[in-house]
């Protein structure tokens, strides 16, 4: 006598074959482009961001920064190869058409009549760009919409007194920002990948473009402002002084392509006096965040997260169990940063 075998869920076993590493377009948001000090007055160069090349330039007086599409709307010359900054504008090498940081055409040196569209709107795509935190930031939206939100005030970066810290880092990850940021709500991995002593409690709440994250009842408190800026404050009691000391990790990741990301971070802390136990402790906190703290069992992101990020595939239908963090609410929130683009309607 034979019995029918129990039917198996083939999707469970075979879905892996159709998975992609990062099946998402570049999300809209404010993104770090470079540190302000790296772009001199009158300088122009090409940068790779958001799945394409852009021309980054600074006006001759130093006050304005532009990020433009490379290809001149006139006859398609690459402005970043042979172009030049002229006053406030960038000039195409081919026929010397000039554009300001908003993409408005400011000069066509030989035309008797400017094409009417030039008065109505930008003709060269540019990204809204500001300088804040000592950095250049651009707003990316796939359909050129104006910024949906502003960059926040970050005291650790902007308050001239009270904070210090010059440590910065930059890492390339072979995946998209959504996958990187998802680790924030995935608290179970903290115990198993990072060797944390336990799985901390987590709460995540969402308010428009912001996510508020609390891991371990105030141990790590994070604010994410769209996909490109994440401020995480690590609050720990120093066993020597019995004081709660806060160190801050400002993380500013930028999509280089839709599935590769440059992760950038600045680490800041209260400007404690040299030689104090507080300074000693807060420096150790920062070592711990990155992954190099001496004499500690647990590991920061540098040593353990990349092996997962760089090799995983996104599972749209993950098999989650109790104890996993609030993954699905995070994914639902993150959807707001993907805009539908129908090229047949442009």
């Amino acid at each position: 006598m034979t019995s029918n075998p129990t039917p198996i869920n083939l999707k469970m076993l075979l879905e892996s074959q159709t998975l992609k590493r990062a099946p998402f377009p570049v999300p809209m948001g404010w993104y770090f482009v470079d540190y302000s000090e790296n772009l001199k007055a009158g300088e122009l160069r090409n940068v790779q961001l958001f799945d394409q090349e852009w021309v980054l330039f600074r006006s001759e007086d130093g006050s304005k920064v532009g990020v433009t599409d490379p290809y001149c709307p006139h006859l398609g010359a690459h402005i970043g190869h042979g172009g030049k900054v002229c006053g406030d504008n960038v000039r195409c090498p081919f026929h010397h058409w000039e554009y300001d940081v908003d993409g408005m055409c400011k000069a066509i040196p030989y035309a008797k009549v400017m094409p009417p569209i030039v008065k109505k709107q930008a003709i060269l795509r540019t990204l809204p760009t500001v300088e804040k935190y000592g950095m250049i930031w651009s707003w990316f939206h796939p359909l050129c919409e104006a910024p949906h939100f502003e960059l926040p005030y970050i005291p650790e970066m902007e308050d001239k007194t009270g904070y210090t810290g010059s440590r910065r880092g930059s890492w390339s990850a072979n995946t998209c920002i959504q996958e990187i940021a998802e680790n924030g709500v995935d608290v179970a991995h903290l115990k198993f990948l990072h060797n944390a002593p336990g799985i901390p409690p987590v709460s995540a709440s969402y308010d428009g473009n912001r996510m508020h994250l609390d891991i371990g009842n105030g141990y790590i408190v994070g604010e994410m402002y769209g996909p490109g800026l994440n401020v995480m404050r690590f609050n720990q009691k120093d066993p020597v002084t019995e004081k709660v000391i806060t160190a801050t990790m400002i993380s500013y990741s930028v999509p280089v392509t839709h599935d590769t990301t440059q992760m950038n971070m600045s680490f800041r802390h209260v400007d404690y006096a040299e030689g104090t136990p507080e300074l000693h402790f807060t420096k150790k906190q920062i070592d711990h965040m990155i992954g190099a703290a001496e004499g500690e069992e647990s590991a920061g992101f540098e040593s353990v997260d990349f092996i997962v990020w760089n090799n995983k595939r996104y599972r749209p239908n993950p098999l989650l169990c109790d104890g996993d963090g609030p993954i699905f609410p995070f994914r639902n929130w993150f959807k707001r940063f993907y805009a539908e683009v129908d090229h047949s309607k442009i």
Binding site: K112, V113, M114, P115, P116, I117, K119, K120
Partner: protein
């Protein structure tokens, strides 16, 4: 097939034949009236400017905002009249047979 009666910039008159469905600009450009049509119909250059006899007005498509803006823009350099048109915006059809067109001065 539509006939187009053309007055050139020197006042000379001639009649040319043209296929329906073609923009008037292309017909005039290809017939060597020294009309440039540089931008190819994008309404960004103003080099296909013509005057069309007002009698033909009701056979013509209405001017778009973009055509109006381009005509205004060339107004500082050449005479723009109520019957000024960008000939790239006039697609010939059989009802326009015999249309009377004067090539406007160069921008």
């Amino acid at each position: 097939m539509a006939e187009v009666r053309v007055t050139d910039r020197k006042g000379g008159e001639s009649t040319i034949s043209a296929d329906s469905g073609r923009p008037l600009m292309e017909v005039l450009r290809d017939a060597n009236f020294d009309l440039q049509g540089t931008c190819g119909g994008a309404m960004s250059c103003g080099t296909c400017h013509v005057y069309i006899k007002p009698e033909w007005n009701d056979k013509l498509p209405a001017k778009s905002e973009d055509e109006q803006m381009m005509l205004e823009a060339i107004g500082d350099l050449v005479e723009v009249r109520p019957n000024s048109r960008l000939s790239c915006q006039v697609v010939l059809d059989d009802s326009m047979a015999g249309i009377e067109v004067e090539i406007a001065p160069e921008v």
